[in-house]
């Protein structure tokens, strides 16, 4: 390797910075989706790299399902304030109250209800582009996702009719009412994300690290016990040393037993891991095509 050579993280970084700047230059009202999770933490650092010393020109947007881990929201609010960004939060609860999101009777998961809430926020602020932290290696249906993912006036993704994406020339042209989802981390793997967090010394919410928590065994995984999922009679309840690998809602995020309490430990754990990240999220398991269905409707 000569000195004019980028290693894998530097390559992924320059690719992502390029994409984020394209968004800033080509869209009128972009937003950056920030949940406080590890992928969007990387996204924020990349936005800093893309735009400093100027301010980050996009507001941060988060759809709060009301079922978030409290640690995550605290982190989200603090980090947004530290970066001097404007944080816009739209709540599924409000969307339900306003009749924008309609829950199925008996369904407690807020997962599907994020979709109408997000689309309403896009309409409210007339966002023409949302930058998100999704990665192609997360799930099979995402493997075909473009960096610039076009959404029609109904917010839908049409996997059969995607724009060819060639070299680093992204076509961001849209008509009124349409919008774009842009995924600068498309080529990153879970390992890349953690290696980047280590290299950049990024702070992450404490729930990624090992801690004690009371968990209940359900659907072959350990779910955190809380008001929304009280243990039912006969269910196995344990106090375990756990962490989260990927953060979804508090009712569906599987806790993995782990002693990893530093980023180095986590990286070592992933190297040896035998279950992919999304494997610990209950909502994807229901059917093989689950993710694909949600994406077509306008999921992140």
């Amino acid at each position: 390797m000569n000195i004019y050579h980028l290693d894998h993280l530097q390559y992924l970084e320059t690719e992502a910075i390029h994409i984020i700047r394209e968004v800033a230059a080509e869209f009128e009202r972009p937003a950056l989706m920030f949940s406080g999770g590890k992928d969007s933490i990387c996204l924020l650092r990349l936005a800093e790299k893309a735009f400093r010393p100027a301010d980050i020109p996009t507001p941060f947007l988060n759809v709060d399902t009301g079922h978030h881990f409290p640690e995550l929201n605290t982190f989200r609010d603090r980090r947004a304030a530290e970066l001097g960004g404007k944080l816009i939060i739209r709540r599924v609860e409000d969307a339900i109250r306003n009749g924008i999101a309609i829950p199925n009777p008996g369904e407690i998961s807020r997962n599907k209800l994020q979709i109408p809430t997000l689309l309403a926020a896009i309409e409210e602020f007339r966002f023409d582009c949302c930058i998100g932290g999704a990665r192609r290696d997360e799930e099979k249906a995402r493997a075909k996702e473009r960096f610039f993912s076009f959404r029609d006036a109904f917010g839908q993704w049409d996997p059969k009719n995607q724009r060819p994406e060639i070299w680093n020339l992204y076509n961001g042209r849209i008509n009124p009412g349409e919008h774009m989802r842009v995924f600068p981390l498309s080529n990153w793997t879970e390992m890349d994300v953690w290696e980047y967090i280590r290299r950049e010394k990024l702070e992450v919410p404490t729930i990624y690290f090992s801690h004690r928590r009371t968990c209940v065994r359900r659907q072959d995984q350990w779910l955190p016990v809380n008001d929304l999922i009280p243990p039912k009679p006969g269910e196995r309840v344990r106090e375990l040393v756990v962490r989260v690998r990927t953060i979804g809602d508090i009712i569906s995020t599987g806790m993995v037993e782990s002693p990893a309490d530093t980023v180095d430990d986590i990286i070592a754990e992933i190297s040896a891991a035998r279950v992919t990240e999304r494997g610990s999220r209950a909502d994807d398991k229901s059917s093989e095509a689950a993710m694909e269905d949600r994406k077509k409707q306008g999921y992140f």
Binding site: A25, A54, S271
Partner: protein
């Protein structure tokens, strides 16, 4: 599906070990074994996780009569599963301690050219699969031609299903000779032929005992070691300005007059103090600072993303290009290019499009269709009436403003463009520019210095 016999390459990356990325694409016709091959690479390099294997097993019961099908790993979408074909480009990731791999899996049916161009434009390497029973077929020629057209620096011809021809060296050599008869017509620098069986894993991750006559590396070993250090252009500094960095009311007073030019270096190396020219204006200045969040750099190179501060305060905006003075690019409103047409509505003379080149998007009109390539013979046929979906040909374009460019063969980033249809906003063509007739001759001399 028998697991491979020898220990797998570990997916673990030792801390602080520099790891490069190699991007490759696989191409072949339907049933040549692309999906099986990628599945094999993921499986044998232990990049498959338990839940993925579980999913694989679950769908094996439904669709595969109980047999695990490695190809299912890369066939992502429901529509495809229903039709039994892959319809677009899918990306896969795996790693060994030496390299990380980004794999673009492009399907081999009729839309092939469009998909391959989409998947392969940034590849370091292309793997062209050939079914050993069928040998070189029209698709093999097409894939090889596209590899050359896109200037993918490295090519692997993977002669697959060798188990079905009794591991015959003779058959392998026959196929190699057939390729070598037309390779000289093309522009490919590095070609490697590897005999393998994707289904059984021979010469994919482990060298095969069935091919004692083959002394070369197995596929993964080749992917891990092929030299990609010079795949980026390091000659002739090119910096398309992407975004003007101008802090509003900065809290830090020293940034009050900060005016940075942000972008990704598209060619060459830049150093602090270096004299540069801004095009199309032709004004000159010097680089005062190479600003990054992590601190200023003494020099930067392609493809880094940086923010340049120039010594003189000049009017520079998105779409302008800052270039080194040693190797000047071309600059013109009349462009000559090879295009690959990607839309069902054919390309005709006189039509208007948006042309996106580096960071600028311009109005453009197609002034003539020079030829259309016959994919069987690689011969150009002059004066076609139109270029249809998946056709490749040479065209001339006039743009509303000058384009600062290099030939695609010299620089893939400053030598490429896309055409966008007005109204539908579809990306309809990938374009590769012919080298400029002469370098730019700016009207202004040392005006700004």
């Amino acid at each position: 599906m028998p697991p491979s016999s020898s220990p797998p390459a570990s997916a673990a990356i030792p801390a602080n070990h520099p790891v490069e990325i190699l991007r490759f694409n696989t191409c072949g016709s339907v049933d040549d074994g692309k999906s099986t091959l990628i599945g094999r690479l993921l499986y044998d390099s232990k990049s498959l996780m338990e839940d993925q294997i579980e999913t694989l097993e679950r769908s094996a019961d439904i669709t595969g009569g109980g047999q695990i099908n490695l190809a299912n790993l890369t066939d992502g979408l429901r529509a495809e599963r229903e039709q039994g074909i892959t319809i677009d480009v899918a990306y896969r990731y795996f790693a060994t301690p030496r390299r990380k791999f980004i794999v673009a899996d492009t399907p081999g049916h009729l839309q092939y050219t469009r998909n391959m161009v989409t998947g392969a434009s940034s590849s370091n390497l292309a793997v062209v699969l050939v079914d050993a029973r069928l040998g070189v077929i029209e698709q093999s020629r097409r894939h090889t031609y596209l590899t050359s057209l896109l200037r993918i620096p490295h090519l692997v011809i993977a002669v697959n299903k060798l188990d079905l021809v009794g591991w015959s060296e003779e058959r392998f050599l026959e196929i190699r000779d057939a390729f070598e008869s037309f390779l000289p017509l093309l522009d490919i620098k590095d070609v490697k032929f590897i005999p393998l069986s994707a289904l059984n894993g021979d010469n994919v991750v482990d060298s095969s005992k069935h091919t004692p006559w083959y002394n070369g590396p197995n596929l993964l070993a080749h992917l891990e070691t092929v030299h990609i250090g010079s795949d980026w252009n390091l000659h002739g500094f090119r910096f398309p300005v992407q975004w003007v960095n101008r802090p509003n009311n900065p809290r830090n007073a020293s940034l009050h007059d900060f005016r940075g030019l942000s972008g990704q270096i598209a060619g060459g190396i830049v150093k602090v103090g270096q004299k540069v020219m801004i095009l199309p204006s032709g004004l000159k200045s010097r680089v005062k600072e190479i600003w990054t969040l992590g601190g200023s750099l003494p020099e930067a190179f392609c493809p880094q993303s940086v923010t340049l501060v120039l010594e003189d305060d000049m009017d520079v905006s998105r779409g302008d290009q800052i270039v080194g003075l040693d190797l000047l690019p071309g600059m013109s409103t009349d462009l000559h290019a090879q295009v690959c047409w990607m839309n069902p509505r054919p390309l005709q003379r006189g039509r208007n499009y948006y042309l996106k080149h580096t960071t600028q998007t311009l109005q453009a009109i197609v002034t003539s269709l020079e030829n259309r390539i016959d994919i069987h013979t690689f011969e150009p046929q002059p004066d076609p009436a139109e270029l249809g979906m998946n056709d490749i040909g040479e065209i001339r374009i006039k743009t509303a403003k000058p384009v600062v460019y290099d030939g695609y063969g010299t620089n893939r980033l400053t030598g490429s463009f896309i055409l966008i249809e007005q109204g539908t906003n579809q990306t309809v063509a990938a374009g590769m520019l012919m080298p400029p007739q002469e370098p730019v001759r700016p009207e202004y001399n040392d005006f700004a210095i």
